[in-house]
Structure formats: structure tokens, C-alpha cells
Symmetry: D2
């Protein structure tokens, strides 16, 4: 088992883009637990400038960082389709790894990574919603029986703003990029693997249609114990980043809603007005990313396995495949 | 004791204006309990037209209705300053009487009415907020100990729209017309008579200033057991009829808020938008007026005393006087 | 065209059970527009007692009422499976008819009724949610373009309490009894006929399983213009009658939520507590039933066609069939 | 004018208790703008341990830190009654100073400090509520005319948990310790100095009565332009740290409410349940303390005066005195 070699975990961060920036913020808040030693980015200037400012080293090649025994853990925050290419060597080098999903673009890549982590180093595939304080509370309370037997879950996710075309091109499509998060939450809440999936999808934005991708989708799931679920997602929410879950049980309902940016409301002759919700994921999930980093660091420090298992990562990938197949063929897909 | 002579209470209604109209609506909904037999209004045409439509008799003189033994109860809904002139003869004729506050313009008139009701007929001086489902629930729960020892009450009342100048001229002023309702609720909630009153008042509307009346006022009250209260009122709320109460106790807080007109909300890039609250008192207090009428009819039927006592009606009048005195003299008034 | 023969519409009411009682309440509030002349119920004692109290006539046979020329309109509030048996003769007798859905148990019965109404008398098949103030406002505002192009609708309906076994036995099943209301609203909002339906259903309550019926269901719909919709329903909501609609467009989102019974909230060390929502449909849809009756009376008075067309009633029936077929076969059904 | 001698502001922090801890958190988040160079605390062990961990120096005597030219700014976070003793020498040493109110226990101490800052170094007396995102937004929008002419303000503040007896003993009493924050906000919102103050106060907690202090108070204020205000405070809120402001204008109302800790709600047969609000000031005002620190650092860097003027600090002190005098004498106090 990989255990941090000193009180604080030595970290290398690969990728200084959108995902890298919120990991940097989290590392600042968890400064007593982790020390950033190396950064890598394909942009040489960016990595050098950042390293100077942060007082760490810039790697021209990721292998420099992997060769440093002071590095206990690698955070892979590079573009989605390069995750496997960075995660696999890091695991082979014996490092603990944290990466946002996806781990790879296929079940094979997923399996190879978990095989490479067989020595015991934590391989932490982060579905960050699990670490959102509101969603985590919802899951805990649903599992604690507060609303009785769980019969139905609705998960809604709407992006704001629409991701860039550059991002969308390599995103893997709406099912693997977005819906997979909802699938992960829904299955975690119900606590079973679904048996049937039905999905519809459509595209209103021409640039998304041109990619043969979708900007709207619904997914229905049936579980062996009788529970049902629906998921609805959109790439373009005009009113901010809309991420909610509703769980219905035979003794009540639990909802985790959005949060307005401030608590200010106004009453006028036109009605009552509240603040906008958070605009996008870096603010909405700020606390989640920090909680996720702390959970990862605890795994590294204590040699514990990551809380999201190989089976769960596999299932999420397969369900996203199944949902996409259903949407493209207009058939119910059995699992 | 006056007890209705048949299963349904025979009613005479004096006044077919603003107040009369919501009593008529309530009588329609309580049709199985009460039968409208007479109406009186100073406008001969109005009373005749209404009587024809409603299938009852129109009194050219209120005494015609009072002389009818089929009339068990009189509802006085004439202009404020004429209440006493109608209530007193009705009580002397042995009828049960329902009137919205004020009963009279002085303590003397109040005392004479209750003396005239000494034979036992119900004299029901309606402070309609007591019958509002939300306010009534708040009072019951505060008294049931849900929030522990009561330490503070805030009552807010804002008119919408601004009453007509014609009405304001005979309204008795903001303290006797508006604040008295808040005083009634605050004292009912605390369950004590206050010992000190401090009030400030101001006027932004020139037409109200011209009447030597106020359009904004605050009142603070101190009670013997240590509880405190504040009241704030306005004659001109731009966003609808704003009537709320907050009670703070050492184990929690209970609030009774406004209700939006519908449950529709909208999220946009500007924020979250809810419906307007009820515009004015006939809609906000529709349920209260019905509950108040039913409570009155129950008193008539069962020969029970009215739920608002002589002492409470007197106290409300004296407190309104004290608050106005405080506002006009800038002194704390002791009671 | 059937036009009321006097200022007020002469009404016969068939059925004095659950549905009859809210029509009676509405007739009391619309007394100036309609006069109840006849009632019929299979329970002879019930109809006689009611007629005595209400001052109308009791029909031992519905044909007595249909033969009376003073009857302009018939309200059919008998058990679901008997609707056609009462509606059809009433239409043949030239009367305007108001009935809650379903009009009949098959497309054939629906078509025969509308054929019988070809002379022009209003045949008003009431989907009462259309007349709910909040839902009606949601539809109007969505159609007015407030949230741009409509892309997604979610409709949720949860019964409270669970209907009686007696009722369930003749209810037609969850798709024809419940989901049909959601289908009606969803299609009205989108303004298109869906092309594909996918449904899952399950049963947690043994007594419902024994009827080969379901207590939970989800339905997904795809529309030709790209809009998608989900419906989720339950027979057993522990927290009250849960009826909500959410509409998502490219410029925002409109929701129509439940209403708490009072505006009272409480803050304590455990959190913030609000009132229960309305328990069941007679209170939740009280305003809707009144609005629906007034709309019907206006049709009768003015000889206007009913606002819900033959095509819409047919479509709702066919969609409920399609959803049930999808749930029973686990296939996507194309329309 | 004192301007930071390098890109980042060199900071000394005096006091490592409750107030110190949230300044330390803020300094961590503003690491790119400020560098902590010295800490001082009367507890030698605490200051040494902290300095070791944070990589700064521990001062046995505050004068060591004041003598260091690398120190641009001093944050005074020592107990309330020692503020003046630390602030004054720091200003005399030419350092910029940030301290939470109070600056001193008398008008004389306040005046002496501002005289000592006459050379131009920022003296930033922090009323942290001004920097709370919700309150700051409320003020900006009220001043921008969103609700027309301002006529009334209500400010409520309720502590949770009850401060320790040790703290209360030196707190200066409820008017100088708590109410002064509400007075600051109310006067900032109205933009005038009040002319009359009326206050009532009481004590339910025996330990607070024993200190001749109060645990509940209400204050009313009248402003020259006609605006009115009420303040109500409590030392013991059972449901968390309750801090709200409501502003009423002739075109509407703006409120800044509390925030629940998570967005999770639950519906049950008992009603709807939301999360608790923040428990106490370090969490409620976390963002405010950070914003306040950033505002201070900007003053130091750019040589700008602090946003809260000498006149405002004086006025707040005088108003707290006046309110206490009113409460103790039961008289309206004129200013």
C-alpha cells in the first residue's frame, strides 16, 4: 500500500487548465495536508510561470515528476481523452492517483488502470457530486431510512454556460460526459444495478448536431427491486448551473436543490425576486472538490482504498453506453 | 342568552359596501348555517337591487330589521364611524351583533355596548386576523410551547393599495385603524398587558400629512414578564398587502408569512421570480372572514360569549391611544 | 347550438359521491350563474335527502331529468366506468354535458359521444388541471415565450391518500386514471403530438399488484420538434397530494409547485419547518373545479365549443394506451 | 501615506483566539496578496507553536513586530478591551491597522486613534457585516433606487450560541457589543444620522442579569427625512445565528435573509423540513471576513483611506450609548 512518506502528501499536478485550477484552489485550502511539488502542462510557458509563482517545479516531461520519490500522489487534470495516458504510467510508477472521471475511453482502459493499481495505491476516480455537501447529505439520509423504502429518483443536470466546441469535440458525448454523473448518483442512491434503460435525446444547437452529439437527453431506469429513476440533462441552461436530485420513498421525499448566490430577495409589484443560482461548476462544486481532495489525501495517508470501486466505475461506463445506445436506436436496452 | 330560534341563524346585514361584500361572500359559503333576511344600506337603490337578487328584504330603516323576531343576529358593516350608532340599538333589541373593529370611537362607547350586551347576547367585535388560518396556527403553536418561553414578537402590516382619501378621513388615523390590529395580535400572543409603549411616526404622502395623520409608524412594547415587541406599519406597500408576524422564543421562532398568489416560479439569467402576494385584504383575509362568521354563528347558536372580551377590546383601544400619544409627543408612555 | 334558456343555466347533477361533492361546492359559489334543478344517485336515500336540503328534485331515473326542458346542462359525476352510460343519453337529449375524464373506456365510446354532440351542445371533458390557477398560469407563460423555445417538461403526480381498493378496481389502471392527466398537460404545453413513448412501471403495494395494476410509473416522451418530457407518478405519497410541473426552455425555466396549507414556518435547532402541502385533490383542485364549472357554464350560455377538443380527448386516451403497452412490453412504442 | 513596500503586504497578527482564527483562514485564501510575518499572543506556547507551523516569527512583545520594516500592516484580533492598547502603538509606528470594532471603549480613544492615523496610514475599523455578500448587495441595491425612497429598515441579530460569561464580562454590554452592528447597517442604509432613539431591554438569563447586562433589546430610530427603523437583538437563538435585514421603500422591499447550511429539504406527513442556518458567526461571516481583509489589503497597497470613516465610527459609538441610555431610563433620547 502506498502511504505518504511524510506527514504531508507530496503531490504532482498534471494539467493547468479548467480542472487544474480548482484542484489548485483546493490544494491552497488543504495546505496543511498536501504539498504541491511538481506541475506539468503541455504549455511550457504556463507551467513555468505557475511553478515560479507557486514555488514548485515544472516538469517538461511527466516522467520527471513520476521519478521523484517525494511525489506520493498524482492529480491528473489533463483533457478528458488523455486521462488514461497519464493515469496508467503514474500507477505503474507506484503513485496514488486522483482523476476526475473518465478514467479511460473504454472498459479495457478502466480495467487496465485498476489492474495497475493492484499493488494497493489508491486509484481515486472522482465523481465529484458524491462529495457535494448537499448531495452527500441527501444520500446519507436516504440510506438512513428517513423516507422509508426508496421508490423513485430524479436527477437533473443542466450545463451553464454551453461548453466550448473545442471541449465538446473530445468530451465523449453528452452521455459519457454529463449523464454518467447522474447515473452514478442514481445507482448510488438506489443501491442496485439497473436492469433496463430507455433514453431519448435531441439537439437544438446546430454545432452540437454537427458533432452527431446531443444537447438534451432523458434517461429512464428500472431497478430489480422495483425502484424507477429518470434523468434529464441539457447542455444549455440560461439561468445557471442547474443540478438537483429528488428521492421519493414510501415515507416521504428528500430533495437537494440549487443554492442562490446570495440570500437577497426583492418584493415588487411584479412579484418576488431571488438571486441567480451559481453560474457554473467551479463555484457550485467548490466545496465538493475540496472534500474530494481531502478524501483522496486521507486514502493516500492511511493507505485506504478509494471510495469509488472498480465495479462502480465500470458500471457507470456501461450505463452511459447503454443509455446512448437506447437513444440512438430507440429501443429499451437490457443490462 | 340569545340563541338562534331555529337551526339556521336569521341574519340582518347593515352596510353593503367594501366590508359588506365579504360578509355576503361568507354568508354564501355558510348558507347551511345562516339565512340572510334583511339588508340595510343608506343607498336605497343599492339595497333594493341587492335584496331582489338575494331573495331577502330591504330595510328603509334599520329598525324594521331589528323589529323582526326572525332576526337573531345583526352584522354591522357600515362605515367605521357609524358602528356604534348601529351596534347599540341592535344590542338593545336583544340581537347578537358582529362588527369589525372599532366598536366605537371612545372607551365610553365601547363600555356602553358591552353593558347593552349584558343580557347575554353575543357582541362579537371582530379582529379578523385572529381568524386567519396562518395567524391562528401561529398563536396556537406559540401558546402550545413549541418555541419555549416567548421573548419577542414582530408584527408588520402594510396596506395595499393606499386607502381612499374619503376612507382615510374617517378612519380614526393609522394607530386606531391599522396598528390596533397588530396590538391585538401582539398582546394575544404574549398573553400579558404591556407596561410601556414607544412609537415613532412619519408621513411621506402629502395628502396624509394634510390630514395630520401618518403613513408610516413603528411601535415598541415592553411587557411585565420581559417580553418585547415591535410593530411596523405602512399605508402604501408597492408589492401587495404585507401582513406578517414573527415570534421568537428561547427554543425557536415561528413566522406567519404572506402567500404568493400562485405557486408559479421562473428561473432566468436574472434570477428566480415568484408570484406577487395577495393584493389587498379581501383576498388575503377571505378565509379569515369566513372563519370569523362561522365562529360568530356558533356563538349565536350555542349562546356562547364572543371570543374577544370586553377587556381586550378596551385594551386595544387604550393601546392605540397610547401609541399615538407616544408618536405625537416623542415620549415613552407608561400604562 | 345549446344555449341556456334563461340567464342562469339549469343543471342536473348525476352522482353524489366524491366527484359530486366538489361540483356541489362549486355550484354554491357560482350560484348566480347556475341553478341546480335535479340530482340523481343510485342511492335513493342519499338523493332524496340531498334534494330536500338543496331545494331541488331527486330523479329516480336519470331520464326524468333529461326530459325536463328546464335542464340545460348535465354534470356527470358518477363512477368512472359509468360515464359513457350517462353522457351519451344526455347528449342525445340535447343537453350540454360536463364530465371529468374519462369520457369512455374506449376510443369508440369517445367517438360516439362526440358524434352525439354534433348538434353543437357543449361536451366538456374536464381535465381539471388545465383550470388550476398555477398550472394555467404556467401554460400561458410558457406559450407566451417567457422561457424561449420549450425543450423539456417534467410532470409529477402523486396521490394521497392511496385510493380505496373499490375505486382502484374500476379505475382503469394507473395509466388511464392518473398518467392521462400528465399526458394531457405535457402535450398541451409542448403543443405537439409525441412520436415515441417509453414507460416503466412497478408495484410495491401487494393489493395493487393483485389487480395487475401499478403504483409507480415513469413515462418518457419524444416530440417531433425535439422536445422531450418525463412523467413520474405514484399512488402513495406520504407527504400529501404532490402535483408539480417544470418546463425548461432555452431562455429559462418555469415551475408550478405545491402550496403549503398555511404560511407558518418554524425555525429550531433541527432546522426550518414548513406546513404540509394539501392532503388530497378536493382541496388542491378546489379552485380548479370552480374555474372549470364556470368555463362550462360560459360555453352553455354562449353556445361556445368546449376548450378540450375531440382530438385531444382521443389523443390522451391513445397515449395512455401506448404508455401502458410500453410498460407491459418493455418496448418503445411509436405513434 | 503608508503603502506596502512590496507586491505583497507584510502582516503582523496580534491575537490568536477566536477572532485571530478567522483572520488566519482569510490570510490563507489571500496568500497572493499578503504575507504573514509575525504573530503575537499573550500565550507564549500558542504563539510559538503557531509560528512554527505557519513559517513566521513569534513576537514575545508586540513592539518586536512593530519595529520590523517588513511589516506594513497590523491586524489586531486581541480581546475587545485591549484593542486600543494595540492599535494606538501600531498607528504611531506608522503601520496600517485592521481591527474589528470596537476601536476603543470611549469616544476619546476613538479620536486618539484617528489622530494617530493622520499621517495617512489606513485605520480600518471593521464592521464585518458591511462586507457580507448578501448585506453588501442589499445596501448597493437599496442605494441604487431599486425600491424607491427608503422609508423603513428592520435589522435583527441573534447570537448563537450564547457567548461565554468570560466574554460577556468584557464585551461592553449588548448595546456596544451587538446592537452597534445593527446601528451601523441601519444608518449606512438610510444614509442619515438619526435624531431620536427609543430602546427597551430585558434579561431572561440570570447570569446576564447578574452582570447588569441585557439579553434581549429592541431599538427604534427616527431619521430627519422621515425614515424609521427598528432593531431587535437576542443573545440566545436556539436555531442558529440569525442575522437579517429588511428594507422597505415606496417601490418595494429588499430582504437579506439567513442561508441554510445545505440545500437539502424533506417532505413528510409532518410538513416540509429544511436545513439549519449557519450556527455561528465564523461560518456565517467567513466570506465577509475574507472580503474585509481584501478591502484592507487594497487600502494598504494603494494608500486609500479605509471605507468606514472616523465620523461613522464615532456615530456608532454614540448611538450605542444613546440606545443603552434609553433602555435604562425608559426615555426617548434625542441626538
Amino acid at each position: 500500500m502506498t502511504i505518504a512518506t511524510s506527514a504531508t502528501v507530496g503531490v504532482a499536478l498534471f494539467g493547468l487548465g479548467r480542472a487544474g485550477s480548482f484542484h489548485i484552489q483546493s490544494l491552497g485550502l488543504a495546505a496543511e495536508e498536501a504539498q504541491l511539488r511538481w506541475v506539468f502542462d503541455v504549455d511550457a510557458e504556463k507551467r513555468s510561470a505557475f511553478a515560479r509563482r507557486a514555488g514548485c517545479r515544472a516538469a517538461a516531461d511527466p516522467r520527471e515528476a513520476l521519478a521523484d520519490p517525494a511525489v506520493d500522489a498524482v492529480i491528473v487534470a489533463t483533457p478528458t481523452q488523455t486521462h488514461f495516458g497519464h493515469v496508467f504510467p503514474a500507477l505503474e510508477a507506484g503513485k496514488a492517483v486522483l482523476t476526475e472521471k473518465p478514467l479511460g475511453v473504454s472498459i479495457e482502459e478502466i480495467d487496465r488502470c485498476f489492474a495497475a493499481a493492484a499493488a494497493g495505491q489508491p486509484l481515486f476516480v472522482a465523481f465529484q457530486r458524491r462529495f457535494d455537501p448537499s448531495f452527500a447529505e441527501l444520500v446519507d439520509r436516504a440510506h438512513a431510512g428517513e423516507i422509508g423504502k426508496l421508490q423513485f429518483v430524479r436527477s437533473v443536470s443542466r450545463d451553464s454556460p454551453v461548453p466550448s466546441l473545442e471541449y465538446l469535440r473530445t468530451s465523449g458525448g453528452i452521455f459519457h460526459d454529463c449523464v454518467v454523473h447522474d447515473l452514478d448518483m442514481v445507482c448510488q442512491i438506489i443501491g442496485e444495478n439497473p436492469t433496463r434503460v430507455a433514453a431519448f435525446a435531441s439537439n437544438f444547437l446546430p454545432e452540437i448536431r454537427a458533432l452527431d452529439d446531443f444537447d438534451n437527453a432523458t434517461v429512464s431506469l428500472a431497478f430489480p427491486g422495483g425502484a424507477l429513476a429518470t434523468i434529464d440533462v441539457s447542455r444549455a441552461s440560461a439561468f445557471g448551473y442547474d443540478q438537483r436530485i429528488e428521492v421519493f420513498g414510501d415515507a416521504g421525499m428528500i430533495e437537494a436543490g440549487n443554492r442562490p448566490r446570495t440570500s437577497v430577495t426583492r418584493a415588487s409589484s411584479e412579484g418576488n425576486f431571488g438571486a441567480r443560482i451559481d453560474h457554473s461548476f467551479p463555484t457550485r462544486y467548490r466545496d465538493a472538490y475540496l472534500a474530494e481532495l481531502r478524501a483522496f489525501l486521507a486514502c493516500v495517508r492511511d493507505g485506504k482504498p478509494a471510495p469509488i470501486s472498480h465495479a462502480q466505475v465500470r458500471l457507470n461506463h456501461q450505463l452511459a453506453d447503454a443509455a446512448e445506445e437506447s437513444a440512438r436506436t430507440n429501443r429499451v436496452v437490457f443490462l
